[in-house]
Symmetry: C2
Subunit: 408 residues, 2 copies
Amino acid sequence: MNHKTMTLDEKFKALEANNAPGQEIRQNLGDINNIMLGDKLGGAAVDFSHGDVDAFPPTPDSDTAWKKGFRQGGSQAYTEYRGSAEVRNKLAVRLAKFTGRSINANSELIITPGTQGALFLALGASVTVGTKVAVVEPDYFANRKLVKFFGGEVVPIPLNYKGSQLHNSPDLNRIEEAFKNETKVLVFSTPNNPTGLVYSKNTITKIADLAAKYEVTVIVDQLYSRMLYSGEIYTHLRSCNIQPKNLITIMGPSKTESLSGFRLGVAFGTSKLIERMECLQAIVSLRAAGYNQAALDTWFQEPLGWMESRIKEHESIRDELLDIFKTAKLYTASPQAGSYLFPQLPSLSVDLYTFVRLLRYQANVIVTPGSEFDPACKDSIRLNFSQNHSMAVSAANRIVKMVEIYKT
Amino acid sequence: MNHKTMTLDEKFKALEANNAPGQEIRQNLGDINNIMLGDKLGGAAVDFSHGDVDAFPPTPDSDTAWKKGFRQGGSQAYTEYRGSAEVRNKLAVRLAKFTGRSINANSELIITPGTQGALFLALGASVTVGTKVAVVEPDYFANRKLVKFFGGEVVPIPLNYKGSQLHNSPDLNRIEEAFKNETKVLVFSTPNNPTGLVYSKNTITKIADLAAKYEVTVIVDQLYSRMLYSGEIYTHLRSCNIQPKNLITIMGPSKTESLSGFRLGVAFGTSKLIERMECLQAIVSLRAAGYNQAALDTWFQEPLGWMESRIKEHESIRDELLDIFKTAKLYTASPQAGSYLFPQLPSLSVDLYTFVRLLRYQANVIVTPGSEFDPACKDSIRLNFSQNHSMAVSAANRIVKMVEIYKT
């Protein structure tokens, strides 16, 4: 074998999912009793690794929509790989309205198994062995893993999220430098996962301009763009005047709308990339589950006031948790959208992974270590605060207590 | 870039899905009116590219099981990436009983988005750039595409399916030759897609022995193994005394049980590979849709007599279609299991793809060209005869009529 490539063991080492959100049950707690200081704190278990769809249930009638799809039978079970034409036709109109640019339902939109599925297909369609990909840090943990899986090379772009909102942004100079140096793809989320930072109009416009100038493919993950807090402004990259030649926008109803159990997402943009994504989907899992696709009929069609009140409830949890962490002097950027908080911890007597395991064992709180989002970030934890309000508050207080116990 | 690898254009050229089953709607019929001889034949449309779940509906209560999963809420929406532990525990027992060897539900089983998802993960876990993979021809079209997508090299193994049942088998000498020459993986389906050939006990035992001897990973797709016709015997590779070090068995309820609209499959076997498959699943689409997983509770738990009568109904369609093709002197292997027929066509005045398009336009019949299963096979078509009985018969007669019109 002449190819200078990773062995399968190396390839899968890079994909290790033990610290990934939702996989905590597979972690070995080890000799945690010997490490633990003091007693268990008690309190009801809160799993901040993902949102609680029991606290914030799925969009009304999403189950009825599923059943309608099931009753429709064969035509809904066996859709095109890119998803039901009927569902795509309706979605294209709504997504175009939301994002500020028209979408051809036939050639520019694909329904995917979750937003994760969309990301996988988009990166699979644009990254191969040796492709340089600019990845923002911190950002969604799978971005980096996907680039490596497809044989690409990660070009890290630092995100400034600890300053004033006016200046928070990925480092635009580093982006231009990367683009000048053969970087072919840029992937990022806005609102940013894990910080909740919404890229400003200035940042988005600059990214679009640079991508157009250097012919870089842009994949923008807008999963949380609907849950926008009071006074914030969201800029869709696809609404900019100057457009990159290749642009894929990714969204889905798994978070704000709590439809994660349906595994639905969409990607829309450059038809050549959508075409490739469908070819890949055909060998990955054929299509998003047919009957589930019918639940997309509830998306952007929620009952009057439903979205507003869902945002309001989250904003109120955000504010209370921010207060708790601020009072405890744990620096936490204020999320402009979405339901993630990314508090920074002081120096502790145990490493981050041990602290996360202790949180789970001693405090009944599950969080995700910051290193999942930026390999160098060993002092922050991510919380998805889409939880029962009072339970989230109580769990946040336990996190503060745990920091007090273990800080040096 | 020093790596000797495919460009993205080349990579996706190999994945083209225009002739794949279910994608016919995206084909351009072109100047078909100028090619067509005679008039349209009329008759109700039959889509033999996949089974008709309206003719053979999903397992009773599969929708009720889904609803139960939906009602269960968060714990069913957010399962481990490898699927709900509760569902896996129950499945492991039933699948072990069916396949003749015990399965550790915690480490040896993963629930996937369809059997396609299982194949993708299994090949992704065992194939990287330069890996030689033995692929039977004809066999399921995605096997070859997946190997190429992961950068592997296809080592074709011819399947003899036109002789007497006693001698039908993949070429075992070619398999051993491949194994001697650095082939690391063997992938095949039994019952074979598209011919319905069930590998004999002798063949299966020999494959297991060779794989053990040469340390070759075996991926065996047993999707249709439950729909076994009268008098036939099925041998599970995982029931052999001598086992390959690495073996993954793949099944799912999409075909016989008509649950394709749920996108569910399973893979079980060597824990190291299952572990890798889960890591890959985590970046591909996280998990099989959570609520859908609950429908697996109906699998291998069908009402008394349900499976027997489903098999009987298919056997009766098989027999009548075989008669029609035999009378017309179109050679067609008699499927021992599953619902595929693979009739061979005589020399025609148009090429295979044109004939398939003509079938669709002139005869209202959709079939899949043989070249999807074996690139060299330009004279056969595949039919999934899981259809309304009388409509299937009428459509088969139209195929015969079309052959008469276009034969040279």
